[in-house]
């Protein structure tokens, strides 16, 4: 072992918790290296100094003040139960209302779904014709917004973000409709998407982003998300069984509003607006480590998913 390797282990060596073999190597080195011994002494002094920081006695009247707070807490609890009951009842009412309006929307969207299915079943010539025609229509026409919504989602996401999972859906009805020829449809849609993405690259207003994303597209994932409902905010159950649906429900429970989702250093950053007095409970229920939470300039929460800043 050289000095660099030994010094890397010194902060833990002083705890006598290294494997015997490693500890022996370090001891051999220390026996012949004064500089490393000096380094080790520094760590020992630090450890001793930390251990020597004595406990401070509790401030006078600490327990009495705690008792008062506990009494206040006990008095507040019955009131809190009533408030919780009212909030739960209101949530159930709103939930039923949203689910109802969701079913109306489903029916409306289902109208265009046969066209998606027929597109998937169509042959190459038909695809070319449609795409040629598309060249002469505005890129964000109503038809495109509705009729090819799922393919737009597929094309423009290298992987689904949490935002996508919360606000995009392929309806169960539509899925059932194409179930009979599901395997073929996937393959045909993949081909269709490839052709569309080539044409769209020439046509799109944000061509750079689109091209970049198309390049990183994972066709397999696209096909998967084309047939798998992954939306649960309004009551559709996630088939992937991931935790996002739990997170969505929790966000909804605390009235949190998602303002933005972005990606930074490979992590997903979700900017959320939520009442100050609900922040603690929300984060606690989400199991979000405090160090994975930041704030933007307007004091909204920025939740960083999939990171450990310190690692």
């Amino acid at each position: 072992m050289n000095c660099g390797q030994v010094r890397k282990y010194l902060p833990l060596y002083i705890d006598s918790d290294l494997p015997d073999e490693k500890a022996c190597e370090i001891e051999k080195h220390l026996a012949g290296c004064e500089k490393c011994r000096v380094e080790m002494d520094k760590y020992i002094r630090i450890k001793e100094a930390l251990g020597g920081l004595e406990e401070t006695p509790l401030p006078d009247g600490y327990e009495e003040r705690l008792e008062k707070k506990m009494d206040t807490e006990k008095e507040a609890r019955p009131l809190l139960k009533w408030i919780t009951a009212i909030v739960v009842a209101a949530s159930m009412f709103l939930g039923a209302h949203i689910a109802d309006s969701g079913s109306v929307r489903d029916k409306r969207i289902v109208k265009f779904m046969p066209s998606v299915t027929s597109k998937a079943r169509s042959n190459d010539n038909t695809i070319t014709e449609r795409s040629e025609a598309k060249k002469h229509t505005p890129q964000y026409s109503e038809k495109d917004k509705g009729g090819t919504r799922s393919s737009i989602i597929k094309k423009h996401s290298k992987r689904p973000t949490l935002f996508d999972k919360m606000f995009t859906t392929n309806l169960p009805d539509a899925r059932d409709d194409s179930k009979a020829s599901e395997g073929n449809d996937i393959e045909e849609q993949k081909e269709d998407d490839k052709k569309d993405s080539v044409k769209d690259d020439n046509n799109t207003t944000n061509g750079t982003d689109s091209k970049k994303e198309s390049e990183t597209d994972n066709v397999k994932d696209n096909a998967k998300y084309a047939v798998t409902p992954h939306f649960s905010l309004y009551g559709f159950k996630s088939e992937e069984g991931n935790n996002d649906s739990t997170m969505e429900k929790t966000l909804k429970k605390y009235g949190a509003v998602i303002l933005n989702t972005s990606e930074k250093d490979g992590n997903e950053v979700i900017t959320v607006k939520v009442d100050k007095d609900k922040e603690d409970e929300l984060l606690s229920e989400l199991g979000i480590d405090a160090d994975k939470v930041d704030r933007d300039s307007e004091d909204n929460l920025k939740i960083i998913i999939g990171s450990d800043k310190d690692e």
């Binding site: 902060p11 833990l12 705890d15 918790d17 520094k42 760590y43 002094r45 630090i46 450890k47 001793e48 100094a49 930390l50 251990g51 020597g52 920081l53 004595e54 406990e55 401070t56 006695p57 509790l58 401030p59 600490y62 327990e63 003040r65 705690l66 707070k69 506990m70 807490e73 603690d280 984060l283 606690s284 480590d289 405090a290 160090d291 939470v293 800043k309 310190d310 690692e311």
Partner: protein, 166 residues
């Protein structure tokens, strides 16, 4: 909840919880934060299933409450003013072995490092907990505990070296 049992918890852990809070959040509001810890314990006592040691559970609540406090307040806190209290107390403890200056700056070093490292150093070197206990309290692997302790100690060493105290 059984009031006697809760009183016993307060008697046994109040000092530890208060002092841990004092180290983790610079002494500022340590009383309020530690009392909040006990209110949380009281409210959640029925959720404690005994799967872990009760001290692990209490430390877990303590660290999480301090983290939350720190996240909300560290930006607004005038650190220099707050540190005076805790640093002054530490430098007055003279056991004849450890240099007073080192103690004073060690407290400052602790407060200036990030909460992840601070938590493991406080739990290990001040509270004397094992790697395994810390791992359970923070919900991180033992390997991560070790690496954070190593980095925390390296940070303090550099902090003191920069001030020519080591």
């Amino acid at each position: 909840m059984d009031t006697d049992a809760f009183q016993e918890i307060i008697q046994k852990y109040a000092g530890k919880v208060y002092n841990t809070c004092r180290r983790l959040i610079a002494g500022y509001d340590a009383e309020d934060v530690s009392q909040e810890v006990f209110i949380k314990i009281y409210k959640n006592m029925n959720k404690f299933k005994g799967n872990s040691n009760i001290s692990t559970w209490i430390y877990k609540i303590t660290v999480n409450t301090c983290r939350e406090y720190w996240r909300k307040n560290s930006r607004h806190v005038k650190m220099l003013e707050l540190k005076e209290d805790i640093i002054e107390q530490d430098s007055n403890i003279d056991d004849g072995i450890i240099n007073k200056e080192i103690k004073k700056y060690i407290s400052e070093a602790l407060l200036s490092m990030d909460m992840n490292k601070r938590a493991v150093v406080v739990l290990r070197d001040i509270n004397g907990l094992s790697y395994e206990e810390i791992s359970k309290i923070l919900g991180i692997p033992i390997g991560t505990v070790k690496s954070r302790i190593a980095r925390g100690r390296e940070y303090i060493k550099k902090f003191l070296e920069d001030r020519e105290l080591l």
